[in-house]
């Protein structure tokens, strides 16, 4: 029998993969994708909870999360394009002026 815990563990695995990806990759776009992966993991746990608790709020929240993800993707990719245009790279290790 598949319980909520199964889904949550899967969600945790995917989320952790996303975290590790953010920490080890240097390509800004891939990091971005890892963030999407984390969002998906969270969505999964929302839906799982909603299903097992007989609630609709989880599903609705996923809906909103997706909107946010869409907005974020649009702005984030625009930023990446802008940065690339200026620095000819999307390697975030080349962009390290965030220390002042």
């Amino acid at each position: 029998m598949i319980t909520v815990t199964h889904y949550l563990v899967l969600s945790a695995i995917l989320f952790t993969l996303g975290v590790v990806g953010v920490l080890v990759r240097r390509n800004a776009i891939i990091i971005f994708m890892c963030i999407e992966l984390m969002l998906n993991a969270v969505n999964l746990s929302f839906v799982a909870f909603a299903h097992y608790l007989n609630s609709m709020q989880g599903q609705l929240f996923v809906f909103f999360t997706m909107t946010v993800a869409a907005a974020e993707a649009a702005v984030g990719l625009a930023i990446i394009v802008a940065v690339f245009r200026n620095k000819e790279t999307v390697n975030i290790d080349d962009i390290n002026i965030m220390k002042w």
């Binding site: 029998m1 598949i2 199964h6 889904y7 563990v9 899967l10 945790a12 695995i13 995917l14 989320f15 993969l17 996303g18 975290v19 590790v20 990806g21 920490l23 080890v24 240097r26 390509n27 776009i29 891939i30 971005f32 994708m33 890892c34 992966l37 998906n40 969505n43 999964l44 839906v47 799982a48 909603a50 299903h51 608790l53 007989n54 609630s55 609709m56 599903q59 609705l60 996923v62 809906f63 909103f64 997706m66 909107t67 993800a69 869409a70 907005a71 974020e72 993707a73 649009a74 702005v75 990719l77 625009a78 394009v81 802008a82 690339f84 790279t89 999307v90 390697n91 290790d93 390290n96």
Partner: protein
């Protein structure tokens, strides 16, 4: 049957996730991500959230990931991994932290902390009205304000993206 499907899809999602983070070519990474999303969409159906599953495929896998691929190709990035690695020493701690993170979450999951109240939307009830219709109802009644705010958010994001990406204004 349900269990088999879950395990298969879970395995596909995790495997794609692992490939995603270790793949050198961003195009392939994006494709692996799409694969993860599709498998998650299947899981949504298993959880009887058909509308979300559909949106997942249409919006995420369809729209957002296409945008990603579009940008990757627009920038015409090199296939090989980025030359500069300023933090080589972070790799192992990062993986360790990932494991620690996972362990901690698992401990939380095993505890009885995550106890929710059961609502009235049982599977039978949802199925009697229809998942999509129910969501639609809720969105335009109880969640109208957040819904409208979402539209503003998207509008702002669109403007922001244009502002950022445009060469000169």
């Amino acid at each position: 049957m349900e269990a088999y499907l879950f395990y298969i899809m879970a395995a596909v999602a995790v495997a794609s996730g692992v490939y995603l983070i270790f793949e050198k070519n961003p195009v392939f990474s994006a494709l692996y991500l799409i694969q993860t999303m599709v498998s998650i969409a299947v899981l949504y159906i298993l959880l009887e959230a058909q509308f979300i599953a559909a949106v997942q495929i249409i919006v995420y896998a369809g729209a957002i990931m296409v945008l990603f691929l579009f940008v990757i190709m627009l920038l015409n990035l090199d296939i090989k991994e980025e030359a500069k690695n300023a933090l080589p020493f972070q790799r192992i701690p990062a993986v360790l932290m990932g494991i620690a993170f996972f362990t901690v979450i698992c401990i939380v999951l095993r505890s009885k902390l995550l106890q929710g109240k059961h609502g009235e939307y049982t599977t039978a009830y949802i199925n009697s009205i229809g998942n999509t219709k129910l969501i639609g109802n809720l969105l335009f009644t109880d969640y109208l304000l957040p819904f409208e705010i979402t539209s503003i958010l998207l509008f702002v994001a669109a403007i922001g993206a244009i502002m950022l990406a445009k060469r000169k204004l």
